[in-house]
Subunit: 141 residues, 4 copies
Amino acid sequence: MTATPADMRQQLQQIIAITPFARSMGARVREFAEGLAELEIDVKPELMHQHHGFVHGAIVGFMADSACAWAAASLAGDVVTAEYKLNLLAPAKGERLWARGKVLKAGGRLLVVQADVFAVDQGREKHVAVALATIAKAGAA
Amino acid sequence: MTATPADMRQQLQQIIAITPFARSMGARVREFAEGLAELEIDVKPELMHQHHGFVHGAIVGFMADSACAWAAASLAGDVVTAEYKLNLLAPAKGERLWARGKVLKAGGRLLVVQADVFAVDQGREKHVAVALATIAKAGAA
Amino acid sequence: MTATPADMRQQLQQIIAITPFARSMGARVREFAEGLAELEIDVKPELMHQHHGFVHGAIVGFMADSACAWAAASLAGDVVTAEYKLNLLAPAKGERLWARGKVLKAGGRLLVVQADVFAVDQGREKHVAVALATIAKAGAA
Amino acid sequence: MTATPADMRQQLQQIIAITPFARSMGARVREFAEGLAELEIDVKPELMHQHHGFVHGAIVGFMADSACAWAAASLAGDVVTAEYKLNLLAPAKGERLWARGKVLKAGGRLLVVQADVFAVDQGREKHVAVALATIAKAGAA
C-alpha cells in the first residue's frame, strides 16, 4: 500500500460521504493509520437516544463495528464484517461518542480487531463498550 | 405476570413510541409473547444503506439486539443488554427487515436469547444474521 | 463430495483416534452428515470436574467447539476454528455430555455454525450450553 | 477484601488442587492481584494436542476461561462464567502456554474480563488467542 496517511484518511472520509447511515450519524474520522482507526460522532438525542435517555445500543454497536471495519480496511482494503461481539460496560451518556479500533491479528483473509467505545459527558470520558470482531477481506467470506 | 398478550404488545409499542432511535427506524412489533419477540422495519435506503447499497450492519445489529432485549423483557420486565454476538450471514438487501428473538434460558438475573434477522427482497426472504445475547434484568448488572 | 455418510463417519473416527485430546476425552461420533455433527463423551469425574463437582467449562467448550468444527468439516473438509462464543446455560452435571453442531451458513471460505450441548443426568437431559462459531476452511484464515 | 495478595494466591492454588481438570492440566498461578490473574501450563503433547500437532483449542479455551474467571474472582469471590468469546489468532505451538485475564469492568453482579493467551515455543512468545468474557458473581446468574 503506497497511499500516505493523508490519502487514506481522505479516502475514508469519501466513503463516509457516500454511506447514508454513517453520514446520517455524522461520523467523522479522528485517526486513521495502519491497523488503527478512530471515529467520533456528536450525540443527537432526538435521533440516537433510547427510552431511558441514553444513547441507543445500536449506535454504540455502529461505533464499535465501524471502528473495527475501518481499522481492518487500513490494512486490507475492502472488507466485510464476518461477526462481532459487543460488551456494554456502562450507559452511553453525554454529548459525544468516540471509538478506537485496533487490529490484533492480520491474517491472509481474516483480521481480528478490538474496539473500545467512549462517551464524553460534560467533557469527562467514560469507557462504555468493548468489542472483538472478525473482519474478512472482501471476496474472502 | 398478569398482563395479557395484547396488553404486553401495546406496552411495547408505547416504549417504541418514546424511543427516538427505534421510532426513527420505524420499528413495528410483529409478535410479542412470553419469551418471544418479533419486530420489523421498512428499509429506507437514504437512511439505512452502507456504501455497497446494502442495509448497514448497524441496522442489522439494531434488529438483532432489539429482538433479544424485547424477548427478554417479555419475561423479565425492564432489562439491559449485557452483551451480544452477531454473525452476519449474507448482505441485507431488500425492502424490509424482520427479526425474531427467542429466550433460550431465563435465569434469576440473566437471560440468554437468540435472534435471527431476515431480509425480504422482492418478497423473497433471506436469513441475514444470527445473534446470541446475554440480557440482564435492570438493576442486576 | 462423493463420500458416503458411513465413509465420512469412519474418517472422523480415525481423526479422533489420532487426536490426543479428543481421544483422552473419549469422544465418540453420534451423527455425522452434511452440515451436522453430534458427539458424546462419558463424564470422568476424576478428570473432568471443577471444584463444585460439575463438569469443567473447558470440557463443555470442547464439546461445543468440536461439534462446530466437525459440522463444518462435513461440508468443507479440513477446517480451522476462527472464533466461537459460548453461553453456559446451566451447570453441566451427570454421567454423559453430548453436543450437536449445525451449519447455519456455508460460504466459500467461512462457515457459521451453531452448537448445543446437553448433559444427561440419571437419564434426564438438560441443555447446558449454546455456541455460535465462525469456522474457516484450512488455508483460508 | 482484607486478604493479602499472598493469601489470595494461596487460596487460588488450593482451589486448583481440588479442581480435577485444572490439576490434570497442571495449571499454576503466575500472578494474582485485584482484577488480574495469570496462569500457565506445560504442554503435554500426549494429552493436549490435536491432530495437526498443535495444542487443542479446548486447552486454549481453558486457559482463557480460567484467566477470566480467576481475574473476576480476585474482585468478586465465588463466580460463574456466563459466557465468553474466543478468537484464535495463531496455532498454539510450543512447550508452554500462559494466559492473562484483566477485569475491564466490575459491576455489582457482572464483570467483563479480557484474556490473552500466549504460547512459548523454544523460548519465543506468540499471542495465540484473545477472549472477552462475562462473569457473574455466584448466585447472581
